[in-house]
């Protein structure tokens, strides 16, 4: 009797062990969603109050290139550069033309004459509206990483993330001055650029604005390179900039307010000309699983035209 009972208990125990091992084996298999006790969770900061969202997405279309690099507006057309191409689209997403370019593009801007300025790793190339190469500047050196260009009349400003400097040039590529070098007398703190995200733009008055990403701030310069003003706040919260290198991209509206774009937790926001947070253009939820900061441009109707690098899409946002 006793032996029978022991056998039954042993069989039950053996079955229980098999079930536990099997459950463990199947339950933990690769691909199963298991709770991570060490999860890095920023969901709290991804949430945005719907009343703070001031824009809505109205147009979206794909860009059929391997690696899009930058976006700009040329009249009623959208210019996109990829590593080896200049492409033009209309607002329906129809590709108007594409043209090979000799160097690997990093960024793009379009001037008042609709000529296309393309920043490559070490230099700047100028193309006409049809994508024909007009000029190629001399190299800024092997350490240079050109990340942004802004053109204002005869002044061309070039952001070099590698050398952490902004070059003020004429249209022929002659360097007129170097802006942003640490200079206590001029009150310039110097650029902290931990990664190749270093954007600049010129406002309505022709003054240069530079995103000093390591300091999470915007800096505004006089023509002589002295610091005019700055603003910015480092914070995970919606009104601030976080991470190593934000705001990664920005553009200035006609009323001198700012549209900013961040990486890590992609979000596009609106600030007034004094740096006061006004609202959200696109919340992190609109870039689910995204990481890259969309490049942004402003069109004639003051719409925000974003190049979503994760989805490889042009996404256009209009004020509600």
């Amino acid at each position: 009797m006793n032996r029978k009972l022991i056998n039954i208990v042993l069989i039950v125990l053996a079955l229980a062990i098999v079930v536990i091992i099997g459950k463990d084996f199947i339950g933990k298999k690769a691909g199963k969603n298991i709770e991570n006790p060490y999860e890095y969770n920023v969901d709290e900061f991804r949430k945005v109050d719907s009343t703070a969202i001031l824009y809505r997405e109205t147009i979206t279309f794909p860009v059929k290139v391997e690696e899009p690099k930058g976006i700009a507006i040329s009249g009623k057309q959208i210019v996109v550069v990829s590593e080896k191409l200049i492409l033009k689209y209309d607002y329906t997403g129809k590709e108007l033309f594409h043209k090979d370019i000799p160097d690997t593009a990093n960024c793009v801007t379009v001037d008042a004459n609709n000529e296309i300025w393309v920043g490559t790793l070490h230099s700047v190339d100028l193309f006409d509206q049809g994508g024909t190469l007009l000029k190629r500047w001399n190299s800024f050196g092997d350490r240079s990483v050109i990340t942004s260009i802004a053109v204002s009349g005869e002044n061309v400003y070039v952001a070099d993330a590698g050398n952490r400097i902004v070059y003020h040039c004429n249209t022929n590529g002659q360097v007129l001055s170097r802006i942003g070098e640490k200079d206590e007398q001029k009150g310039v703190p110097g650029y902290i650029i931990p990664s190749p995200y270093f954007d600049l733009a010129v406002d309505d008055g022709g003054f240069l604005w530079v995103a000093n990403t390591g300091r999470h701030s915007f800096e505004n310069y006089n023509k002589d390179g002295s610091l005019r003003t700055s603003w910015g706040i480092a914070s995970f919260k919606i009104e601030g900039f976080t991470g190593c290198c934000n705001p990664a991209q920005f553009a200035i509206l006609a009323d001198n307010s700012f549209i900013t774009s961040e990486k890590g937790m992609p979000r596009i926001k609106l600030y007034d000309q004094h740096g006061v947070f006004k609202g959200v253009v696109a919340s992190p939820a609109m870039f689910a699983n995204g990481w890259y900061a969309p490049d942004i441009a402003i069109d004639a109707d003051q719409r925000v035209v974003a190049l979503d690098f994760d989805r490889k899409q042009v996404r256009i946002f209009e004020k509600k």
Binding site: K28, K29, A30, G31, K32, I34, N36, P37, Y38, E39, Y40, N41, V42, E44, F45, I192, P194, S195, P196, G214, R215, H216, A234, S235, F236, K237, T242, G243, C244, C245, K263, G264, M265, W291, Y292
Partner: protein
């Protein structure tokens, strides 16, 4: 004609000398061969592809070793030396300081050292690191991705069926040759091995 014969003691000495020379040559040859075979061996060991890793936390919980043989390593040449470090500080910390309440690492395994305004250096204390990848997630999301996980081969038992590899949701575990056992970011890049292909965070 003199038939001079060497004394017996001389013959013995020569025999011992040549014997020792022979033994030395054989042992040196043996050591060299073993080293050569080891260095060109096709033996494989487990390693994590840092570009596939999704920081799921299983390296900390599934390894048969306690603490895990997986540790965080730091590619200093990729690091931005940021004050507001996503790998060191909790999201939205009270202050950018070394206070425990501000640290992201559950075991305080990262040391933050001031270099010069506004740069800080971050060094992993491997004795404390449990391979949870929380800092890796922070650095990958909000930094340059210089912090990443690697299996440390002075701790790894190189199990035939790695307990972590079995449950890794990203298929980031792979066998690599024993003579090149690490896949460190910077020297090893996504989709290739080119050093100049510096990839964004």
């Amino acid at each position: 004609m003199s038939d001079r014969k060497e004394p017996k003691s001389m013959e013995r000495r020569r025999f011992i000398r040549s014997g020792m020379q022979m033994a030395l040559a054989v042992s040196l040859g043996g050591v060299a061969s073993v080293s050569f075979i080891k260095s060109t061996s096709k033996d494989l060991v487990w390693q994590i592809d840092p570009f596939k890793c999704v920081q799921c936390g299983r390296c900390a919980t599934e390894c048969i070793m306690t603490p895990s043989a997986v540790k965080c390593v730091h590619s200093f040449n990729l690091c931005g030396y940021c004050d507001l470090c996503g790998g060191y500080l909790k999201p939205d910390p009270n202050a950018r300081s070394t206070a425990a309440e501000n640290q992201l690492c559950p075991t305080a395994a990262i040391n933050r050292r001031y270099i010069e305004e506004p740069y800080f250096e971050y060094v992993i204390d491997e004795k404390l690191c449990i391979g949870c990848a929380k800092c890796v997630a922070g650095c990958t999301s909000f930094g340059n991705g210089s912090l990443h996980l690697q299996i440390r081969h002075d701790r790894c038992k190189n199990c035939n069926e790695c307990a972590i590899a079995r449950v890794c949701p990203a298929d980031a575990f792979q066998r690599v040759p024993r003579n090149t056992p690490y896949l460190i970011k910077g020297g090893f890049t996504k989709g290739g091995t080119s050093k100049d292909q510096l990839k964004k965070g």
